[in-house]
């Protein structure tokens, strides 16, 4: 006779447990309704109940932490995606927040260094490099190493390599003629020094030596396409020379490196307005305003773009906002008012 520990007799004529002749039909094992119900509720062992309680507590604690971690994870992945799309202003905000939550996260730190570099914030780039050096001895991830070396390779162009010039820089910059001579002589010996080239281009621009500025900047851009100051000098030169089409192309090149670059967006909007591409200029100015709603230069260009698009109300609102800003430049404000009131022509 087959029997289980809980007194189940499978050969019983009635219910296999209580032998009641009224067993439920249609089942292979004869059991009455009550016995089947009781057996289906087979008791859990005490150890299993304690284990389940323990796991439940752990699960509750884990689930309590989940929303914060989930948010952080999603934000970080978004930041990575934004960096891939060269939206460095947005990605910089995300990586800053991630590092506040996870200060030892090397990937966020490297991504933040890249974002700061492309946002032209060299002070922050340097300070983040110091943090990286202090916290990380080696980087194992090849992709991160490549990303970091891209910034380090280009950051070295920002300082003149000759110590004697660098040490005298404060004195030299007060005498531009002497400084120009020093730089010209130095660049004959060290044509690879792009910081010196851009410094000289700046001096040439002051002297309206556009040819000199352009050739120095173009060489710098050719030698190091991600060395951004050369673009800014060249853009200023092109604007002064009224080479707006070239300026527009160069602004777009700069914007391709960082689609949220403030300087690039301002330049692009300026050239678009100069070329009477008013609708595009308004879109560009609005894009800049979305990212920097409290920056005087952005308010000024948006006010101007609205004016040329016959949106006088918004133009006036931006102008009023600009007037209320303590950091607003009075000359810029006066110029803007003159452009808007057509006292001074903005376009040629």
């Amino acid at each position: 006779m087959e029997e289980f520990s809980n007194r189940i007799n499978l050969r019983s004529a009635g219910c296999a447990k209580c032998h009641d002749p009224k067993y439920e039909r249609g089942y292979k094992v004869r059991l009455c309704k009550d016995c089947r119900r009781e057996l289906s509720r087979y008791p859990l062992k005490r150890e299993v109940i304690w284990g389940a309680l323990g796991v439940s507590v752990i699960l509750l604690l884990a689930l309590f932490r989940l929303p914060a971690y989930f948010r952080a994870g999603v934000d970080y992945m978004k930041g990575v995606q934004l960096a891939k799309e060269h939206k460095y202003v947005s990605s910089e905000k995300i990586f800053t927040a991630t590092l506040q939550k996870f200060p030892g996260h090397t990937s966020s730190l490297v991504h933040l260094i890249t974002a700061a570099y492309f946002n032209d914030d060299l002070t922050r780039t340097d300070s983040l490099f110091s943090v990286l050096r202090a916290t990380t001895t080696t980087l194992d991830d090849e992709e991160l190493m490549d990303e970091l070396s891209l910034v380090t390779d280009n950051s070295r162009y920002y300082d003149i390599q000759d110590d004697s010039i660098r040490n005298q820089w404060d004195i030299l910059k007060q005498d531009t003629t002497a400084y120009r001579k020093v730089l010209e002589d130095y660049l004959l010996k060290a044509p690879y020094d792009l910081a010196a080239a851009v410094d000289l281009a700046y001096l040439y621009l002051d002297l309206k030596n556009y040819k000199g500025t352009d050739s120095l900047c173009r060489k710098a851009i050719h030698d190091a396409p991600l060395f951004r100051p050369a673009y800014f000098e060249l853009l200023s030169s092109l604007k002064d020379q009224k080479k707006y089409e070239e300026g527009l192309t160069l602004s777009n090149e700069l914007l391709a490196q960082n689609t949220e670059s403030l300087s690039a967006l301002l330049s692009l909007a300026t050239f678009q307005l100069k070329l009477k591409k008013d609708k595009e200029a308004l879109a560009t100015a609005r894009q800049a305003f979305k990212l920097w709603p409290d920056t005087p230069d952005v308010l000024a260009i948006l006010s101007l773009a609205c004016h040329f698009n016959h949106q006088q109300e918004e133009s006036a609102r931006m102008l009023a906002k600009l007037k209320n800003m303590t950091s607003a430049d009075n000359t810029q404000l006066a110029d803007l008012q003159n452009f808007i009131t057509d006292k001074t022509p903005y376009r040629d």
């Binding site: 249609g26 094992v29 057996l39 087979y42 299993v48 989940l66 971690y69 952080a72 994870g73 970080y76």
Partner: protein
């Protein structure tokens, strides 16, 4: 090579949850249980002895119960730990405990070949089994046997790691694109 029984000992929470899942679905389907062993150092490492289910669909649920319960529980436990550990290299001891539990439980999500045999006999050879149920039983049984063969090559461990370590990161990536 570690014998299966020692591997089961290391990952015993998964075995207990696996048997508990069978028991839970027996209760939900009103199927009588005669004996339960949550864990033992023998083959099989755990079992639930129950009467044959009256409805073939109930047998399917009882057989695949661990797949549902173990996967959900493993993911819920491992998810909050996988993000700090694998995304931010910032895991605490508690996180590693969660990952251990998640991995152990996910490793035992696959029904055993014994479960597959009972399911096959009840459903495929059942007289009043609807055709659709017979059809879906074929790939399920096939998967269970494939999993059993794969476990000889640590497929259960790889599957557990996928659910506990990989899936949370994939879910985060998916939501980062949606949100």
């Amino acid at each position: 090579m570690i014998p299966g029984v020692y591997m089961a000992l290391i990952t015993f929470p998964g075995v207990v949850v696996h048997e508990f899942a069978h028991q839970l679905f027996c209760r939900l389907c009103g199927v009588a249980i005669f004996d339960v062993k949550y864990f033992q150092m023998a083959d099989p490492v755990g079992y639930v002895e129950h009467e044959p289910a009256k409805k073939p669909a109930h047998q399917l649920l009882i057989s695949v119960g661990p797949f549902i319960v173990n996967n959900i529980l493993a993911l819920a436990l491992a998810f909050p730990a996988a993000i700090p550990v694998f995304m931010f290299n910032d895991g605490s001891l508690f996180d590693y405990l969660l990952l251990y539990l998640g991995l152990s439980i996910a490793m035992h999500a696959f029904p055993s070949t014994g479960d597959a045999k009972v399911m096959w006999n009840t459903i495929w050879h059942g007289e009043d089994t609807p055709l659709w149920l017979k059809i879906i039983t074929v790939p399920i049984t096939g998967l269970i046997y494939a999993g059993a063969i794969g476990s000889m090559f640590w497929l259960d461990l790889a599957y557990g790691m996928g659910v506990a370590f990989g899936l949370p990161i994939l879910i985060v990536k998916f939501f980062s694109q949606l949100m």
